[in-house]
């Protein structure tokens, strides 16, 4: 680009963009964020203090991190753990066991995983244990150095904590929390969950052993803070190889955040959700549109990305239906209007459809009943309609009661955009009664 001599390294544009993509994709897809937890400084400090006490002083603790999906629970924990592991006195001392409710679906599997993560497989060997508690105590016993005072602290993190509450008798939770209460091995139990009512799920004996320490991650950032967050996420770090390019890029990002239309898109997004995950999805879509010929995120890209993110999936599916299937959906809509959401069966829909054919239709022809049945079944396969009771009921399929899973407005909106919709079908849909 420029022939000016400078101290910086100049990379070709393609190379630069490739670097940008690599860096930003790691942020959005792999959660490697440039800054710490944004907006949760106090929670961060609280958790760090707590875990440090366990790691350094051998104090047992239990804590729950509660927040909606994508609010940054795992991110917060990972940040804290990373920081913790960087401390010298902690690194050699602490043992980490990470469990997830998605993976360890019962306590047997969980125990095996704990054994593995503590590297105690050879110690356990072929031993047979009487109970779960005995096994767990043995594991923790094995970690002791000899005298009671200096056993190594163990940090348990339980992702999807609510799922552990569904295990039989909540044995794992009971034992972990029990150990955290008694003065045995120092352990810290950190649970992550998106359910605010998680304590209700715990049995009484489990609940009473929990410290009732909860950290809530309910984002309180306002729109200005959100915008700053977006800017931070998109900015290139100062150690980017091509400094000129990085400056240009950062200037572009700043301009983007000040742009009126981009701001409107972001405000719309902010109003619907504040969480990091959905923001990352939006930015990822916008980022994927960055090419050599378009070397910065423009407001138009953001607009397009937001359109992709918010498009109504059911309307998209409706657009792909054949005319016959669409007619059936409209007939169902009318039935819903007339009978106020009562379930209906195929016969009623077919009857309604035939009434339309006789009275108003010019463009739609009469179809044999089996052809209509096939269309109806296709709608059922797409789960646009749902049978009221299970398939086990022995009744003729024409008379099986079904429910329409679409909204009145959804149908009307989809109809407006339906490619080459015959006018009489449109009129039928808008007319008040059949």
């Amino acid at each position: 680009m420029s022939k000016r001599k400078s101290k910086d390294i100049h990379l070709p544009a393609g190379e630069c963009l490739s670097q940008v993509q690599r860096l930003l994709r790691e942020r959005f897809c792999h959660q490697q964020l440039p800054v710490g937890p944004f907006g949760f400084e106090s929670q961060h400090k609280h958790l760090l203090e707590l875990l440090k006490r366990t790691a350094v002083h051998g104090e047992s603790n239990s804590v729950l991190i509660v927040g909606p999906r994508g609010a940054g629970k795992s991110m917060l924990l990972n940040c804290v753990l990373k920081e913790l592991m960087e401390m010298n006195e902690v690194k050699k001392n602490i043992l980490l066991v990470q469990l997830s409710g998605l993976l360890q679906t019962d306590d047997g599997i969980a125990l095996k995983e704990i054994t593995r993560q503590l590297n105690l497989e050879n110690v356990v060997g072929d031993k047979v244990f009487g109970s779960f508690a005995e096994n767990l105590v043995f594991l923790l016993e094995a970690l002791k150095k000899g005298d009671r005072s200096s056993s190594r602290p163990v940090l348990f993190t339980l992702d999807e904590f609510d799922l552990f509450a569904h295990h039989k008798n909540q044995t794992l939770l009971y034992n972990l929390l029990d150990i955290s209460q008694s003065a045995q091995t120092p352990v810290a139990v950190v649970g992550l969950t998106c359910r605010l009512d998680v304590l209700e799920l715990l049995e009484k004996r489990v609940k009473s052993r929990f410290s009732h320490r909860q950290i809530h991650l309910l984002s309180a950032v306002d729109f200005q803070g959100f915008l700053r967050g977006v800017e931070l996420q998109l900015r290139l770090p100062p150690d980017f190889p091509d400094r000129r390019f990085a400056e240009d890029w950062n200037a572009g990002v700043e301009a983007l955040c000040e742009d009126k239309s981009a701001e409107a898109v972001l405000r719309k997004h902010f109003n619907s959700s504040k969480d990091f995950r959905s923001l990352h999805m939006l930015l990822m879509l916008a980022l994927s549109r960055v090419t050599v010929s378009n070397p910065a995120i423009r407001p138009a890209d953001l607009l397009e990305a937001s359109r992709l993110c918010t498009s109504d999936a059911k309307a998209n599916v409706l657009h792909g239906l054949s005319i016959l299937e669409l007619c059936l959906v409209i007939a169902m809509k009318h039935l819903n209007d007339v009978y106020e959401g009562e379930p209906f069966n195929f016969q009623m829909v077919h009857n309604e459809f035939k009434k339309f054919l006789q009275r108003k239709s010019h463009s739609v022809h009469n179809f044999e009943k089996p052809v209509v049945v096939k269309a109806f079944e296709h709608l059922q396969e797409l789960e646009l309609i749902k049978p009221m009771d299970g398939a086990s009921v022995r009744s003729q399929k024409e008379y099986q009661l079904v429910k329409l899973m679409l909204d009145h407005t959804q149908i009307m909106e989809a109809l407006q955009k339906y490619p080459q919709c015959p006018t009489d079908v449109k009129q039928w849909a808008t007319s008040a009664f059949g």
């Binding site: 897809c29 879509l285 050599v292 003729q396």
Partner: protein
């Protein structure tokens, strides 16, 4: 030097892909842009939805194969257990290393899979993004509850550069578990438009004929089928099946390629017939072809659902008719139909409100055995003793699933049944024994204030006709124009007799 189409991939490869995937260029470009360069991270999970035969699997698979990216394609239909799914993924990523080293335990859990994946991943770290494609992903919902959320955040769980692509016909809203999960990136594959379908279908031309002819043939085919079916695969099958018939006039020399109208007249009824048979899978394509070759003789093509192939004993037919009447008539109208002196019962007044909607819309009602037998004795011609053979015939009707038993098996003294056949079926059965069902159905009853009914009364007062039994009378009255059963069944109170019938009787 112009910029590459997609950085990280050779231009000629991308061009070849565009060639191979007609009418899917936008989708291809979006996907390639999302995937980025091979080494870069991609979004952890992508959910692609769209109707059947919109090229979801084809585009993804061709894309990954042509660009030689590491991928595992798993169709969830094949995976009766999660173990098979895990094994297929591990085998296609790690190949020999997986089979030689420690295999998955029997009945593996997601935890085992993740552990093994991580182990193997340390030995063979990903240099390029790995893709797992789960076709027909809606079936994942029926497997263990942790499987779908687990796969959605697989990248996080295994800490590898891996992306899971889910393909389904059903929208994402139906997948979301109760407490939510990692939200995948949604991509929609829209249907091919009519022009695009035409373009794709016209690609497979017949070598003996010009492409223009085939294209015009496709145009006719779409004209018939497009409003019913937009499935490319189905249309292609139908096109291939009916093309020989289309060419027939050309071969015999009756028409030339330019006589578009003649050709159209020849093929259109054929295609309409195909819609009722081949499209519904009533006959197989082999049968269809045989029938076409058997020209001349008027071989009526009978599908599975035609009623002529059901052959029943004489009394069984009457039993079935009686069951049908019992299922579709309200019990208190029995007096009106089966008693000689039933007195004057006005139709509209004596029924409760909910009984006024047609039973043919609501479906069959259960009835006790006694009522079935009572109706049976009153409709059957001769005197029948209530022997074991009659009861045996009832239970064999249940076995044939023409009747269905609704009460429990332990209720021996008063079992309840439901009739499980359609009106068309019962009309076909009744025709063979000369019984008019429609006349005995409450839903098709006349309103008393209609002039047609007055005509009816006049007929019955005629001394000659009085000797005729009611059944034969009704048979005469309906002998001419059959009651149109394809017309909508109205709510009973609104029913009008077809005008031509009443006119005839007034004369």
């Amino acid at each position: 030097m112009s910029a590459p189409l997609h950085p990280g991939y050779a231009d000629d490869r991308v061009r070849l892909l565009i060639e191979k995937l007609p009418c899917r260029e936008t989708q291809l470009n979006t996907l390639l842009a999302l995937m980025g360069e091979p080494e870069q991270y991609c979004y952890p999970s992508i959910f692609i939805y769209g109707h059947r035969a919109t090229g979801k699997s084809y585009v993804i698979q061709t894309l990954l194969r042509e660009l030689e990216l590491p991928h595992a394609v798993v169709s969830c239909v094949e995976c009766v257990s999660a173990g098979i799914l895990f094994e297929q993924v591990l085998r296609s990523f790690f190949g020999s290393a997986y089979s030689s080293s420690n295999a998955l335990p029997r009945k593996p859990s997601l935890s085992d899979f993740i552990r093994l994946y991580r182990q193997l991943c340390v030995q063979f770290p990903a240099t390029q993004t790995r893709y797992i494609i789960l076709d027909k992903a809606e079936l994942l919902r029926d497997m263990d509850a942790n499987l779908l959320p687990g796969f959605l955040r697989l990248q996080e769980l295994v800490e590898d550069n891996v992306t899971v692509i889910l393909l389904s016909e059903i929208v994402w809203d139906k997948f979301r578990p109760n407490t939510g999960c990692f939200e995948p990136l949604l991509l929609h594959f829209p249907n091919y438009s009519k022009a695009e379908l035409q373009q794709i279908l016209a690609r497979d031309t017949h070598p003996a004929y010009s492409p223009e002819l085939y294209s015009s043939y496709i145009n006719i085919l779409l004209g018939v089928f497009y409003s019913v079916c937009r499935d490319l695969r189905e249309l292609r099958h139908l096109a291939a099946l009916n093309f020989p018939k289309f060419c027939e006039p050309l071969e015999t020399g009756e028409a030339k390629e330019k006589d578009a109208h003649k050709l159209w007249r020849n093929i259109e009824p054929q295609l309409k017939k195909a819609m009722q048979t081949v499209y519904l899978r009533e006959v197989s394509s082999v049968q269809w072809e045989e029938q076409q070759s058997a020209e001349g003789e008027v071989a009526e093509l009978r599908g599975l659902s035609s009623h002529d192939h059901v052959e029943l004993p004489y009394y069984s037919k009457y039993l079935l008719i009686a069951a049908y009447l019992a299922s579709y008539n309200p019990a208190r109208t029995d007096r009106r139909f089966f008693l000689k002196h039933h007195g004057k019962i006005k139709k509209t007044n004596f029924l409760k409100k909910h009984e006024k909607t047609s039973n043919h819309l609501l479906g069959p009602k259960p009835f006790p055995l006694d009522r079935l037998l009572a109706i049976f004795y009153s409709v059957v011609d001769s005197r029948v003793a209530p022997t074991a053979s009659v009861f045996a015939q009832i239970s064999s009707l249940v076995t044939l699933q023409l009747l269905s038993q609704v009460s429990h098996d332990d209720q021996l003294d008063a079992p309840k049944y439901k009739c499980a056949v359609s009106l068309d079926f019962i009309r076909a059965i009744a025709r063979t024994v000369g019984f008019d069902v429609v006349r005995h159905l409450y839903d098709f009853l006349l309103r008393p204030d209609r002039h047609a009914d007055r005509a009816c009364r006049r007929v019955t007062t005629c001394p000659l006709l009085l000797i005729l039994s009611r059944r034969t009378l009704s048979f005469q009255m309906y002998a001419g124009p059959p009651l149109a059963c394809d017309s909508p069944i109205p709510a009973a109170s609104r029913f009008l007799r077809p005008p031509d019938v009443s006119e005839k009787m007034q004369k």
